[in-house]
């Protein structure tokens, strides 16, 4: 079963990330059974039926704007943000916006080209679930990679995980 890092632990996760090929029309699609993340287009076509369903999340690619689901968030339990390449940093802003501006409390999952050396930044921006591609890391490597969540113990700036900057959290000696 695919592995997922959730709240600092490796767990099994059965959710399928549904990817449409070019021939499939979102409207005509019959959604598969079981836990699932659907693409934005499918969400928009089917949200009347699937909104509020705990087993269905929505996933956004890096060029897709989180503003587009802002009005739907009450009916969404989980959002996955795709990293087409790990150097594409748009999802960090997307996650931060979902948490801060839109107050989203559900799961935000990093999917796609997700590497352990980005875990720390992801966690700081509000991702609480991280799913490297299947086969990217062995089970042992993934356990080892949890250490990257703790690369830095006391960051300077405010972010989602730590909403106050260091200068407000502590009394720093002059």
């Amino acid at each position: 079963m695919p592995k997922l890092i959730k709240n600092g632990q490796v767990i099994d996760d059965a959710a399928q990330i549904l990817v449409l090929d070019e021939t499939q029309a979102p409207e005509a699609l019959t959604l598969p059974e079981g836990p699932l993340f659907v693409p934005l287009a499918v969400w928009q076509a089917h949200k009347g039926q699937i909104s509020g369903r705990a087993s269905v999340g929505v996933w956004l690619d890096s060029h897709e704007n989180v503003d587009e689901i802002a009005d739907d968030l009450e009916g969404i339990t989980a959002i996955a943000l795709n990293f087409p390449k790990f150097t594409d940093g748009r999802a960090y802003s997307a996650a931060a916006l979902l948490r801060s501006r839109y107050g989203f409390k559900g799961e935000i999952r990093a999917i796609g080209d997700v590497l352990r050396d980005q875990f720390f930044f992801m966690q700081r921006c509000g991702f609480d679930a991280i799913q490297p591609k299947a086969g990217k890391y062995s089970d042992a490597q993934l356990e080892e990679a949890l250490a990257s969540l703790k690369d830095f113990s006391t960051p300077y700036q405010a972010a989602i995980d730590q909403p106050e900057p260091l200068f407000r959290r502590t009394q720093r000696a002059a």
């Binding site: 704007n65 790990f86 150097t87 594409d88 940093g89 748009r90 960090y92 802003s93 997307a94 931060a96 801060s100 501006r101 590497l115 050396d117 980005q118 720390f120 930044f121 992801m122 700081r124 921006c125 490597q141 690369d151 830095f152 113990s153 006391t154 960051p155 300077y156 700036q157 405010a158 972010a159 909403p163 106050e164 900057p165 260091l166 200068f167 407000r168 502590t170 720093r172 000696a173 002059a174």
Partner: protein
């Protein structure tokens, strides 16, 4: 200067551990080249022609003597005995072995130094005025603000994978000595009518392939809001900057595409959410940081030291150095000394381990233990008593650090170029040295006067050729190295981008080309007119004529 508290130290120590593990995983084959590249770049580590190159951060160019001695030690132990000062006030080592880089970083950490974000698509080392705190034309000391911004930008989780690199510069004086108009964000410290400190913010400037002068996005952000304002700019850029084409990924392209008015609208709409949030600066934090930049224990001295005047009268060589490399200080009896790294026998900006140790000694003896690195690739002792200048000069001269050419034709800004850099199209150091050899007569250099000649080995423009009064750009033509010449560029308050004068030249032609340009200037100049002023008055035509000859210019016009 700023000294680390346990929090700062811990972040740097944890970085060493993190990079040590990343290097281990790379060498063990657990990280691919593509995966390791951004990680090492965000730690200033390039893979160059001969060896890795490590770029060490010197925040806003400020160094202690202890730090300089450590750089000397690293140059001696892990490099070939020298280091290089970059055009972003950083230090580079050209020959470290990849597997010892974690050790080098661990050594740097012991003197409160690191290589964090000296490269990569992230917020880079923040640069500033090398004369901060000592210049007479300073309104507000930029150093505390640079440090506040340094801390905010260090490992900022949202902006570690931007579309492209992001450079911020801060200036707080009448003269812009930080090239703020050519930065992704240029900050000019100022006061509003009520006397409150804030920032004029420029955005979208930059050199590179498409040189653009930054535009004003706001004429005043109160100091409390500078971080949230910068975050709003960065967030708009991170979300909407182009990622499909490396050459169009800088923020300047986004600003041009949207127009400054629309870009400002988007930034300020974003800022509405962050403004007054937790990243709003507090008086206590600014006071804490500013408390590190105290005024040194200056003595009360006469404005003009009698001995200094006598030494200048008695010794023409000292007088020549004093005229060029000694600058006015805001405190009576003190002076700013530029230690030139433009000895024609060395690459511009290079300094040996022995010289670094000596500079550290002079800083301790004569300048409160501090040294600054300039973007023009020299070092500065910022607080020297006039009565000590002769001693400093004698010592500097004995080791080749008193070339009396600050601000003259041979004080060349020059990137490492094709001799070292894997990105370069052409070599730049030999061109600089050939021009320095051609113009080796000091009287002639003094007659030519203030002029800036900048050389870049490729379009990335590390050598700032776009803003050189004379700019030289290395270009590749069918695998051969050629050099394109531009005139009329300028840094500072009247920043301008130079214009290319015509077809490019072979390396061997370059000293002649520069001679011809200088001859045109000497023939055309009016009394008291500096080179750049003549170029601006006459335009490029007389220079084209002087360089290419009448027939070539006519033919060109005819063909056009």
């Amino acid at each position: 200067m700023y000294r680390y508290d346990p929090y700062d130290q811990k972040i740097v120590d944890e970085r060493v551990a993190q990079f040590r593990d990343q290097t281990r995983r790379y060498l063990a084959g657990e990280l691919t080249d593509d995966e390791f590249r951004p990680l090492r770049l965000q730690n200033g580590l390039y893979i160059q022609r001969h060896a890795p190159m490590l770029r060490v951060a010197v925040p806003y160019g400020l160094l202690s003597s202890t730090q300089v001695r450590k750089l000397a030690h690293i140059a001696r132990t892990h490099d070939k005995g020298y280091a290089h000062v970059t055009t972003r006030q950083n230090f580079q080592f050209n020959w470290p072995e990849l597997k010892v880089v974690p050790e080098i970083l661990a050594e740097l950490a012991t003197v409160e130094m690191h290589a964090i974000q000296t490269s990569g698509a992230c917020i880079r080392n923040i640069t500033s005025d090398p004369f901060a705190g000592v210049a007479g034309d300073e309104y507000i000391d930029p150093r505390p603000w640079c440090e506040v911004l340094r801390q905010w930008s260090t490992f900022h989780p949202e902006f570690a994978f931007l579309p492209r690199k992001f450079k911020i510069a801060v200036n707080g004086a009448g003269q812009d000595r930080a090239v703020i108009q050519c930065h992704d964000i240029g900050l000019e410290l100022k006061r509003d009518a009520a006397g409150e400190i804030g920032f004029r913010v420029l955005v979208g400037g930059g050199m590179g392939r498409t040189p653009i002068i930054g535009e004003e996005i706001t004429d005043f952000v109160p100091w409390q809001h500078i971080i949230t304002y910068c975050e709003a700019i960065l967030r708009v850029y991170n979300r909407y900057g182009r990622r499909d084409n490396l050459y169009k990924a800088r923020i300047k392209i986004l600003v041009k595409a949207l127009g400054i008015a629309e870009f400002k609208r988007q930034v300020e709409a974003e800022w509405e959410f962050g403004k007054n949030g937790p990243n709003t600066l507090t008086e206590a934090e600014v006071a804490r940081v500013a408390g590190h930049f105290t005024t040194p224990a200056y003595e009360t001295l006469p404005a003009e030291d009698a001995g200094y005047a006598a030494q200048r009268s008695a010794n023409p060589a000292f007088a020549a150095w004093a005229r060029r490399n000694v600058l006015a200080h805001k405190v009576p009896g003190y002076a700013i000394v530029v230690l030139s790294l433009k000895d024609p026998k060395r690459a511009p900006g290079d300094i040996t381990a022995e010289q670094l140790d000596l500079v550290a000694d002079w800083a301790d003896a004569y300048s409160f233990g501090e040294i600054r690195a300039t973007h023009e690739q020299n070092l500065v002792l910022a607080d020297v008593r006039q009565s000590d200048l002769f001693a400093v000069w004698e010592k500097a001269r004995a080791t080749g650090l008193a070339t009396p050419t600050f601000g003259l034709l041979t004080d060349i800004i020059c990137c490492p170029g094709g001799d070292f850099c894997a990105l370069a199209n052409a070599k730049s150091i030999p061109i600089a040295n050939a021009i320095q050899a051609r113009f080796d007569d000091l009287d002639h250099l003094y007659d030519i006067g203030d002029i800036e000649l900048n050389i870049s080995g490729c379009m990335n423009s590390c050598g700032h050729h776009h803003v050189g009064h004379i700019g030289i750009l290395g270009v590749d033509k069918n695998g051969e190295e050629w050099y394109q010449v531009s005139l009329g560029g300028s840094q500072g308050n009247n920043t301008s981008i130079g214009k290319v004068i015509g077809r490019s030249f072979a390396a061997a032609e370059m000293p002649d080309v520069i001679s011809k340009i200088i001859d045109v200037y000497l023939a055309q100049r009016q009394a008291g007119e500096r080179f750049i002023e003549t170029v601006r008055r006459t335009g490029l035509d007389p220079f084209k004529l002087g360089v290419y000859g009448e027939a070539a210019v006519k033919e060109r016009k005819h063909n056009a």
